[in-house]
Subunit: 470 residues, 2 copies
């Protein structure tokens, strides 16, 4: 059955690519209200498409009580497989990261350019490419077989890139609609390429923005220099306390009750043979980080505090002899299993307050949200189904891997609906997601249009009861 | 004679104020090419005015060979006092600092607003107010007396706020035209107010901008966080090494051969009774700086390294989970007598290179210029003339003070033409020069229109030979 669907999708490939490019052209940047029109365009395109392929109950989902900064999700279902078959929630997201710094793009970020077998555009890899594969796989089953091997509920989020502020409330509001046996995520890469990989976990995230103030106003650096605190000097001193020289987080209590790495976790991390030299070479960067851990461990099983933005004073052309009174920093933390987002955020906040000398005032801007790390339990049927598909398609036992990034939906569905998730995206880690000149490989599009039909067929061999016993 | 001129100027006061407001309305920001039109407007206004009041040889001065970023000076002379009278070069500048951050201004920075006896606008205090006083004083003598008590050469610079990149070359080109016995500067404040002050020196300046790079491109902080250097963390660590906790510069070799403070310098610094608590209260800031020195010493006789701007990563609305590969900083240094600008700049550059770990690349953008500190020698006739005027107008012996800021022309004229300078501006230190909501007091305008005629008359009692013997 999956072979027929894959053959159909291969035949439809040009039309599918055209639809993917249309979706990419909507500048759906969720973090910036200036892009509201791009967000709306992407939603309407998807609503139209889900209706066209024959999904039921297609609509936007929002929480009963609006959440500031929240964005509606796109929903559609097909439940014709019957109650004995598993119901699989399929996740993707239609929002993208900002395209800044624009001047580093070789072409406009929302005008997709195909070069050397790659689609260059913001959102191509993260995650409109894999989201399109998910949608078109369902379309393929419905077009060729008149139905899917499992019941499907397609859920396309609009606020993944801003930490999903309203997603918890949205799930609570629509709990009945979203009930499922398991979830497959188009976000969270690794299914593409020669090495078979099972993505079974991801780090959590929390964020913190703060303003540092040393005086009530900026001043002439000639007049006051030497006797008035400079906010940029103080910001530098403060940020410098967050890590030691090897990049280890130096924040007391940051890891909270998180257990140390287990032997099983370290063995799983080692199951994927990362070429560390090649990893650093891609960034033209020197090796860095805690030498007690491998690069895979550092980036997936160890927590971080990262300054994503820092600024203050005069940043325009030429110079300005000012002693700035104010400086700003945006921080995010990546969290490991067992770390609580609110506690981690508070530990960093307390650290900053403790290290700010008298005369330096901090104002914190807490951003809502925050997500715990997620791990799919070892005996979950999703692992077996995906492993079978990967063995068949690529040969060999798949490596068990984790994402260093965060797919909040995996944690939220575990916590709120009690279901496990498998990340089965086709993005590759070298595709410059969140950076200039992001791209998605056309070969990954083709591969996804083979793997996803196989995975749904494999899950169709299972019973709903298999998931409920796990 | 000066009484008649002062009376005339008092009668002309509304017309003088109107001309000052017209000059302020030209947004003459020299550091940013976007303001070229404002620069041109200010120049043409001044050229017209100098011709109208009867100066000779009115024109723009530029170096023989153009210097990148340079701006022409406005020049005009009156030499009818004869060769026995001193020739006084009168200095002002028509360029202003950028108005950023615009959002902190209560009214548009180039639309002067008069409130509570103050003119609020960018450039009102620094230094279009005092420049206007100088021009109108000459106008007053020419209108009422048919001539000035001394020969005058009016020199209005256009690049003071960017470190005067072409001024040295400009002076060399026009050396014959600029020959004089001494210089009085409208820039460099302190003549206004109840306490009589003689400004006899200023700190020097040098600057340095650099870019820090940790990788060839920005990356997703989830994917790389923990194993790739973050340019903002490294920038913070590096900037934090420049000072100790009390703000003392921690750069090896920074002071070079500069001698320690002399007893005479410390006594002069103590002659001005600064209310340190009030000084900090104005900024709502805590006391800060090297406890071995008074605030007056810290801000005028001790050197600084100041970060005027620092930035990198995502600084827009919301968040972006990026590990930035690049960060930037703009630095200026204030220099004390005996410190060499190029050597100070190089000491900071070497410090930064020495403290940057492997894997952190620095690129420096040297800005041309750099100015040594200036001191008017103790027995210079300008000191006696100005002291006499201040004693007569305000009563009591004037305090001998220095500027913490830099008036490059004082150093340049000493070095290139061998003449000493007195700073006799009417700006006050609380007028938020270089900051939002800069203002100039109308009372200082009135005071300047009395003091400047007195000072020119006092100098007119001296012979040119008095200056050449000094």
């Amino acid at each position: 059955m999956s072979e027929r669907v894959a053959a159909y999708l291969a035949g439809e490939r040009e039309a599918i690519l055209e639809r993917l490019l249309r979706l990419i052209r909507f500048p759906s940047v969720s973090t910036d209200a200036a892009f509201a029109e791009g967000m709306r365009g992407a939603r309407e395109f998807l609503l139209d498409r889900l209706r066209a392929i024959g999904l039921e109950d297609v609509r936007l989902l929002e929480p009963a009580t609006p959440v500031p900064g929240g964005q509606p999700a796109v929903y559609g279902a097909w439940t014709g497989a019957g109650p004995d078959k598993p119901t699989i929630l399929i996740y993707g997201h239609y929002d993208v990261q900002p395209a800044d710094p624009l001047e580093l793009w070789h072409a406009p970020p929302f005008e997709p350019a195909i070069r050397d077998g790659r689609i260059y555009a913001r959102g191509a890899s993260d995650v409109k490419g894999s989201t399109t594969i998910a949608v078109e796989t369902i379309a393929g089953f419905l077009a060729t077989e008149g139905g899917c091997p499992v019941n499907v509920k397609l859920f396309l989020e609009g606020e993944e890139e801003i930490g999903s502020p309203s997603l918890g409330a949205l799930i609570d509001t629509h709990r009945e609609l979203l009930v499922a046996d398991a979830m497959i995520s188009a976000d969270g890469g690794g299914a593409a390429g020669a090495v078979p990989r099972l993505n079974i976990g991801c780090r959590g995230i929390a964020s913190l923005q703060f303003t540092l103030r040393t005086a009530s106003k900026d001043a002439h650096s000639g007049k006051v220099g030497g006797a008035l605190r400079n906010a940029l000097h103080e910001m530098a001193r403060l940020i410098a306390t967050l890590h030691d020289e090897q990049g280890r987080v130096a924040v007391e209590g940051f890891e909270g009750d998180a257990p140390p790495l287990s032997n099983a976790e370290r063995a799983e991390a080692a199951s994927f043979a990362l070429d560390e030299a090649a990893w650093y070479a891609e960034f033209e960067a020197a090796p860095f980080g805690d030498p007690a851990y491998s690069v895979t461990e550092r980036t997936t099983l160890r927590p971080t505090v990262e300054v994503n933005g820092m600024w203050g004073g005069y940043t325009g052309e030429g110079g300005k002899t000012v002693t700035p009174a104010e400086a700003h920093a945006k921080l995010t933390m990546r969290l490991i299993p067992g770390q609580d987002p609110a506690a981690a955020q508070e530990a960093v906040r307390q650290h900053l307050l403790r290290h700010a000398p008298a005369g330096v005032a901090l104002t914190f801007h807490h951003r809502p949200g925050g997500t715990r790390a997620f791990t799919l339990r070892a005996d979950h049927p999703l692992r077996a189904a995906a492993a079978a598909v990967l063995r068949r398609e690529k040969g060999g036992e798949p490596a068990v891997t984790r994402l260093g990034g965060t797919v909040p939906i995996t944690t939220l569905f575990q916590e709120r609906l009690g279901i496990g998730s498998l990340m089965f995206g086709l993005a590759s880690s070298d595709e410059d997601a969140h950076a200039p000149n992001e791209f998605f490989r056309l070969s990954s599009l083709d591969e996804g249009l083979r793997l996803w039909p196989m995975l749904l067929s494999e899950l169709g061999r299972m019973r709903a009861a298999d998931f409920r016993q796990g």
